[in-house]
């Protein structure tokens, strides 16, 4: 149990998926202009991450049992692509409001390296099913936290008088650097709380 909490806190704060591991930078920079799009996108990412983890776990067991572990990358990306398509179709048909809120972000998620990244990490670290799910949840929540915080920072930045050569992407990256710097303050929290026993 302690280990699961540690995993969650690591994904959220100390090893934040976006700000310290650099997964999913494209949506982080591209979709964080407005708070509501940031929340929608990250909610979709969390859902897909959890489903992808749940789907790839048994498939990976199957691959490993048949000595086909080298196919992991190919199989995982296809599973994720198919899963995203299916989620989109099901949402569109049966849950229209949810589709309107999350569905439009789904096509973008296939090529989001955060999803494939978390699935590959789960395999590399040889997590059990529960640990893998908690790790994915932590990673997804970390993604959401970073997106929401950064959307706030960018909102504030709109009123600022930025030097011409820094306008646009450069200042966004420098702001991301400062947000990332602030997350450094969380390092040591796991050891401090004695979560890794």
């Amino acid at each position: 149990m302690k280990y699961l909490i540690a995993l969650l806190v690591m994904g959220l704060l100390t090893n934040n998926f976006v700000l310290s591991k650099f997964y999913g930078i494209c949506p982080f920079l591209g979709v964080s202009k407005k708070l509501n799009t940031a929340v929608g996108m990250s909610a979709a990412v969390i859902v897909v991450m959890l489903m992808a983890t749940a789907a790839t776990y048994p498939i990976n067991k199957l691959l490993v049992n048949h000595d086909l572990a080298f196919l992991q990358t190919v199989v995982f990306i296809l599973v994720i692509a198919a899963l995203v398509q299916m989620v989109e179709i099901v949402l569109k048909k049966f849950m229209k409001p949810l589709y309107n809120a999350l569905g439009i972000y789904l096509p973008l998620i296939t090529t989001n390296c955060a999803v494939l990244g978390v699935v590959l990490l789960n395999v590399q670290e040889e997590y059990t099913f529960i640990q893998a799910m908690v790790n994915s949840l932590g990673a997804g929540l970390g993604f959401m936290l970073a997106m929401v915080l950064f959307a706030g920072v960018r909102g504030k930045m709109e009123d600022c008088d930025v030097p011409e050569f820094l306008q646009g992407l450069p200042i966004t990256l420098i702001a991301a650097s400062l947000v990332s710097l602030s997350f450094l303050g969380f390092s040591g929290i796991i050891e401090g709380m004695g979560l890794l026993g």
Binding site: K21, C26, G30, L108, Q124, I174, A176, L181
Partner: protein, 261 residues
Amino acid sequence: MAEKKSLGKEFSKGLIRENPVLRLVLGTCPTLAVTTSVTNAIGMGVAATIVLVCSNIVISALRKVIPSKVRIPAYIVIIASFVTIVQLLVKAFVPALDTALGAFLPLIVVNCIILGRAEAFASKNTVLYSAVDGLGMGVGFTAALCLMGTCREILGAGTFLNGIQDLLVLFGDNVLGGWNGFDFNGGLSAVGLQPITLFILPAGGFFVFGILMALANKIAAGKGKPKAELHGCAHCPMAGSCAKYAAENETCEEKKEEVAS
């Protein structure tokens, strides 16, 4: 259209004019993640270049066979196969690089540069041109990674090309007499200085990328070119296949509001 282009131009555009990292803003994740040292940057760049050239060749050769409706999944399978090949080769011959790059080696699959080039170039041009385009883009990617890596490694770790033997292992043991990169730390501490560790931390990655981006924009502006900008969806290789994201970011937001209302 392919006839009028020259091979040299196709190659050179990826280096500077359409540099995938600094001009097209593609492949930002590996750019930030692996550039803590120049050695990693070179390794990542070369691995991505191999995948890029091979997948461009195969996709271009199959461009008339693949039905356009299923082209994206088909491209992904082709790219993923080459990534697996490269991954296995790296694991076998340069194991230290495999450890250093971690998950970012298999993640070349979702690197936008590769799918982006497949969609934008290889699916419309002949095999030779696609190969040259892939090579140019790959070299441009590697160059940008090395530039980032150089800034970060020198400032953050006080070394340059540290651990280069890990890569040179490919050419045999003790190439260059076992030379393992420069180390300025001795000289630095002699004058009472230390490297700025921040630069090899994640925050430093964002910072260096931002400054390099500003410089690239400044140079581009001097030549009357527009500045590089990340347009949410427009840069996503899926945009073409995704009806909702047909055009640019603005259109996305509009569509989203339409859907919501």
